[in-house]
């Protein structure tokens, strides 16, 4: 079974964010790019499944929609253990456009299931996975926290409002994952880094598709008011109730 992990290339959480061109664009001069943390966990689990002799997963592929600056991120995915990377050559303007590009590639391929992270660390849309599933008319399973196999059939566990459910999907599913799917990201080892150089990284032309929303400007959020220190528990309760009115 081949599985596909969708990878978003994002600024590291600790990087300071600045904007240029009248605040309409991210200033990418000093950005440290990383694999979106949720996607990194998804990939780590996918590679573990492949390495587990008892699971039917035989091949892990990663894909990103992005320009050439995303390639180091894809190489890192290969070093972690993906077998093949695909880059669709465009800078997506919204989640809809991203999903359309992914759809154009995936619809001609055969995957056991697809995995997306819950949200990307840049636009924070939590949208690409659902949009992709609808375009492909696949089942989407969100809040997936783990996966196991009965023979060749994957059993997915998802978090629901008041507990957990296990389910099977007839056909291909798009999994939308968060923490729990893998506990910690897999760190590439030396061998992984060496072999990553010779693994395939395929570049595909984008299809033409307009975005539905336009990101016009960015600004930094207003500074939070500075913290109000309180001396004892009674005072804290009173202020939460009377001043902040949250209890």
């Amino acid at each position: 079974m081949r599985i596909l992990v969708c990878i978003s290339n994002v600024p590291d959480t600790t990087t300071k964010i600045k904007f240029t061109d009248s605040d309409s664009k991210l200033d990418d001069a000093n950005i440290q790019w990383v694999i979106n943390p949720w996607d990194e966990l998804a990939l780590s689990r996918a590679v573990e499944l492949k390495e587990d002799a008892g699971s039917p997963v035989s091949e892990v592929e990663v894909i990103t929609v992005g320009l050439a600056h995303t390639e180091p991120t894809l190489r890192k995915c290969l070093a972690i253990g993906a077998d093949k990377a695909v880059r669709i050559d465009m800078e997506p303007l919204d989640a809809y456009q991203t999903a359309a590009q992914l759809d154009a590639y995936i619809k001609n391929e055969d995957f056991g299931f697809l995995v997306c992270g819950i949200e990307s660390g840049d636009y924070n849309e939590a949208a690409v996975g659902g949009m992709l599933a609808e375009r492909l008319d696949f089942v989407s399973v969100s809040s997936v926290s783990s996966i196991r196999f009965e023979g060749d059939t994957p059993i997915f566990q998802r978090d629901v409002a008041n507990g957990k459910e296990e389910l099977k999907v007839n056909g291909t599913a798009v999994l939308i994952v968060q923490k729990g799917f893998a506990r910690v990201p897999k760190i590439p080892n030396m061998r992984g880094i060496m072999t990553a150089r010779s693994k395939p990284l395929q570049i595909i032309k984008a299809v033409s598709k307009s975005p539905l929303v336009e990101f016009k400007t960015y600004n930094t959020p207003p500074a939070r008011e500075s913290v109000k220190m309180v001396d004892n528990s009674k005072e804290l309760v009173e202020r939460l109730s009377q001043e902040a009115k949250v209890i």
Binding site: I118, V139, K179, L212
Partner: protein, 324 residues
């Protein structure tokens, strides 16, 4: 034309988030003159739904057939789509939670309607529709314009509060035309705990870090959380060390939550932790170190030993709640 609100049915009940979302829709209605309507899926009593009238909703379509009780994202999307077309929805609003995240993007594709999640405020303009959303894990705000005729938004909960505006409400049975209700998804096992408040939905979250010193000490947080009807969360090292289950970990690589009150107890406030909780309405930090970075993002702070403060705080809340 209408502003359609997705009302989340939790086993026959609705939560405050639906009332809040209705209040938000009603504020949009006051600027645009377009009425607020709702759609709800699965079995639920009309008397429960009539509460929505208090917040300005004039009509609810209820797809109340028991076959729809289990959420199948693909099917729920088609039900909301049919409701949106029937009521000619110009705006469709979802809560920014797991259900909204699961259905809204699918609906966006079906209706070819631009979708803006994590909306932080009322629109600053309606023609064209311009809203501000969260971006870069809370480190920036993005101003976004929606280009399509129909528009979908998920406002962040807890940002708006409730505002009453009584309206006459009509509840209409709705029979959507669905070809394969249970479709391709089969539930093989369920572990439900109907009393537990899920972390994603909790209005109050009591969260602990390494400063709690041991797994056992988390029972102090559980007691406080029980008093407040909240849920317990933790920092990543706490989950990694097995003091708490992995699904309680919040932050960049854990859950992203936005409760009304977030208690960060014995948590240093690393940027990766804050990325998961910065949407909270009020952050309360309790830490032994007055220089801990958590105080830079907290609204209220107390310096001291969590192991003595938390039990005192629990008593203080108990007294407060019994006086109410």
């Amino acid at each position: 034309m209408s502003i359609l609100v997705y009302i989340r049915n939790i086993g026959g009940k609705i939560k405050k988030q639906s009332l809040e979302l209705t209040s938000y829709a009603n504020a949009m209605s006051q600027s645009t003159g377009i009425p607020v309507v709702g759609v709800v899926i699965g079995e639920i009593e009309n008397s429960v739904l009539s509460e929505l009238g208090k917040y300005g909703m004039s009509k609810v379509l209820k797809a109340g057939d028991a076959q729809f009780n289990n959420r199948v994202n693909r099917v729920y999307t088609r039900i909301v789509e049919q409701a949106a077309l029937k009521l000619d929805a110009k705006y469709v609003l979802f809560p920014d939670n797991n259900q909204g995240k699961a259905i809204a993007p699918r609906l966006s594709v079906r209706l070819r309607a631009g979708f803006v999640p994590q909306v932080l405020d009322l629109p600053s303009s309606y023609e064209p529709l311009v809203v501000v959303k969260r971006a870069f894990t809370g480190k920036a705000l993005a101003t976004v314009e929606v280009k399509t005729e129909r528009k979908i938004m998920s406002p962040m909960l807890n940002s708006f509060g409730l505002s009453e505006s009584p309206a006459e409400i009509v509840i209409e049975d709705f029979t959507p035309d669905i070809d394969e209700p249970q479709s391709r998804l089969e539930i093989v096992d369920k572990k439900l705990d109907n009393d537990a408040v899920s972390l994603a939905d909790a209005e109050i979250v009591v969260s602990g870090g390494r400063g709690l010193k041991s797994a056992e000490n988390f029972n102090l947080l559980e007691k406080l959380s029980d008093t407040l009807g909240g849920a317990v969360a933790c920092s990543r090292p706490v989950a990694d060390d097995g003091w708490r289950p992995a699904d309680e970990h919040v932050g960049q690589t854990g859950k992203v939550i936005a409760p009304n009150i977030y208690f960060a107890i014995g948590i240093s406030g690393a940027i990766q932790h804050v990325a998961g909780v910065s949407g909270s309405k009020c952050i309360v930090a309790i830490n032994a170190d007055p220089e801990a970075p958590i105080f830079d993002v907290a609204d209220y702070g107390m310096v001291g030993d969590a192991l003595t403060i938390v039990p005192e705080l629990n008593e203080a809340f108990k007294n407060h709640l019994s006086e109410k």
